[in-house]
């Protein structure tokens, strides 16, 4: 029945516009358009940084949740386009679009912070509501067929808001009393309290009052977040397998990036120099000094700089306290010991001496000042980092 086309797109501007108008009137144009916008909006939030910065590598880390959100955006765009291109099946595409839009609330950043979800719901419903007017030939297409219908539709949004406010308090009713705030709706708080909302799509997010109802018995936090046991982590000192040098190797591979720690002072408790170790890296092994100690405290403008690919990441702390089974590997360690500047590198004179007295050094805490450590790999049972500040770039 529907004979349509891109007739006249190549002709003069007047007929061009007329042809477009004809094309537009013969299909649920605005419904499809809103669905399209919804899909684009949902896609933009997770992808904008990637598009702007070209950081395609980062997509890898998005994981299943993010991929699902992106998929929803693509499907919504597809629904919008199919509403235009295949209006005969508009009911299917419209309902699919509405369902996807509702789903986007949990799957894609709260439905693109409500905007995409609302656009999708309204667009899909408009596509659903669009009907060919075979009985009444096109007089003035923007004439509303029935005034009552439009009024009813306009009443939907306030109704939606009202239902949200009902849902909210009910859900929270049997729990702690919610602390009311200047929010209009269950979650959406605008700067000003607005008792009456105009039913325009842009201004009305389906959200509701009350920010602070924190607790609900039904809302259990995700499993195991406070429990101690963890996978993996510090397997450093345990399994020493690979090569058979004096100190053995750590159970982990060291990074081959350039790293330097500078600290005003370092206190090494129960320190014992273990000799050199062949530490595996991604590109062969690296000869490093191995120290073990019961605790290591760095204070005085502690600054760790890691340089990879010509870019530096700087971590500063007011203090770093490693304690319990501290193992430190480094290619160079320098500083002042009792005012005497010393530099330790694998195999130099000082380290040979250190090796000789390694049964004595654990007895006294060693404090060095103006310490610099190169290419470090450190593991410990616990670390307290005060005033941590990481800056990249």
């Amino acid at each position: 029945m529907a004979v349509s086309g891109n007739a006249g797109f190549g002709a003069a501007v007047g007929s061009h516009r007329a042809a477009f108008r004809g094309w537009r009137r013969t299909r649920p144009f605005w419904g499809g358009f809103l669905l399209l916008l919804a899909g684009i909006e949902l896609l933009l939030i997770p992808l904008s940084g990637i598009l702007i910065h070209g950081a395609v590598k980062l997509v890898v880390y998005i994981g299943i949740g993010g991929v699902f959100g992106v998929l929803l955006g693509v499907l919504l765009i597809a629904c919008g386009l199919l509403l235009w291109l295949n209006p005969v099946h508009r009911t299917f595409y419209a309902i699919a679009g509405v369902l996807l839009a509702v789903l986007s609330f949990i799957a894609s950043n709260f439905g693109g912070f409500f905007i995409g979800m609302l656009l999708g719901i309204i667009g899909g419903s408009m596509g659903f509501g669009w009907t060919p007017s075979a009985d009444q030939p096109a007089r003035r297409p923007l004439d509303p067929p029935r005034r009552g219908g439009r009024v009813m539709a306009a009443a939907v949004l306030p109704l939606l808001l009202a239902s949200t406010t009902l849902v909210g308090p009910n859900a929270a009713h049997d729990t702690t009393p919610p602390q009311q705030q200047g929010c209009i709706l269950w979650i959406l708080c605008l700067p000003l309290p607005a008792p009456s909302l105009s039913p325009t799509p842009a201004a009305t997010q389906p959200a509701s009052a009350d920010a602070g109802n924190g607790t609900t018995p039904g809302s259990s936090p995700s499993p195991g977040s406070t429990s101690q046991p963890s996978t993996s982590a510090g397997s450093t000192s345990g399994s020493q397998s690979k090569s058979k040098t004096a100190a053995g190797t750590p159970g982990v591979e060291a990074s081959s990036a350039t790293s330097v720690i500078v600290a005003g002072s370092a206190t090494l408790d129960g320190m014992s120099y273990q000799g050199t170790a062949q530490v595996p890296t991604a590109s062969g092994t690296m000869t490093m000094m191995k120290f073990i100690m019961s605790s290591l405290t760095l204070t005085g403008d502690v600054r760790a700089t890691v340089t990879q690919n010509g870019q530096a990441t700087v971590t500063t702390n007011s203090s770093l306290d490693f304690s319990g089974g501290v193992v430190l590997y480094a290619t160079e360690l320098s500083g002042s010991l009792l005012g005497v500047p010393i530099t330790l590198t694998p195999g130099n004179v000082v380290t040979v001496l250190l090796r000789l007295v390694n049964s004595l050094t654990p007895l006294v805490p060693v404090t060095m000042t103006n310490v610099t450590t190169h290419d470090f790999l450190v593991a410990s049972d616990s670390l307290q980092a005060n005033d941590l500040n990481i800056t990249s770039g």
Partner: protein, 211 residues
């Protein structure tokens, strides 16, 4: 059946008076409401359940005008490694990627710049904190007071095992820990994603200032 006609149709359709009269249509608002009302109700229930933390949401946001703060973050299974975000013009921008397998965040606040406004999302201010699984944050700035257990710093980022399935580039600088507690966390991020996010006491607001 809809048939797409290419351009030769032009003479048959005079301007302003399309010939395809029977196929024009319009939105019947009553019919619109038939779908809109139940959908709105379902959406409202979903919003309500999310705001009480009963349903977990999935979050994935990127863009550098995005900030996350929390009074206390507790996590099990922690990894951090450097990564490079390459801009379209070739400029390389380093970021520190933090990955936490299970995290709870007390008084979470996230702010996103949306045009001239800043959308501020708060949750977990009550006794139930926000919880997130497989939280990935690419930050170019991070501050707080941190306590780690079973930590290894300087490990090859390609061999990290704190969060199964997620590692950095081989040879890169990485660290991992069994548990992590950060108080007064503040991050300036490029990308934040979490597989699931439960957000008890969720509130969204627009404001001029961020978190």
């Amino acid at each position: 059946m809809s048939v797409e006609n290419p351009s030769p149709q032009t003479p048959a359709t005079p301007p302003g008076q399309p010939a395809r009269v029977p196929t024009t249509g319009k939105v019947r608002w009553r019919r619109f409401s038939i779908l809109m009302i139940p959908t709105a109700a379902v959406a409202a229930v979903m919003v309500g359940l999310t705001a009480t933390g009963s349903i977990a949401a999935s979050i994935s946001v990127s863009g550098n005008a995005f900030e996350v703060t929390s009074t206390q973050l507790r996590g099990t299974g922690f990894e951090q490694f450097g990564s490079i975000a390459t801009q379209a013009n070739g400029t390389q921008h380093p970021v520190a990627v933090s990955v936490i397998r299970n995290a709870t965040l007390q008084s979470l606040c996230q702010s996103v710049a949306v045009g001239p406004f800043t959308l501020v999302l708060r949750a977990g201010a009550g006794s139930t904190p926000v919880s997130a699984d497989n939280l990935v944050v690419d930050a170019d700035q991070l501050s707080g007071n941190a306590t780690f257990t079973n930590i290894a710093i300087g490990q090859d980022a390609g061999t990290l095992t704190g969060v199964p399935g997620t590692t950095g580039a081989s040879g890169g600088f990485g660290e991992q820990a069994g548990t992590i507690v950060i108080t007064n966390l503040r991050q300036h991020t490029w990308l934040t994603t979490a597989g699931t996010f439960t957000l008890p006491g969720l509130s969204l607001s627009f404001s001029r200032s961020g978190c």
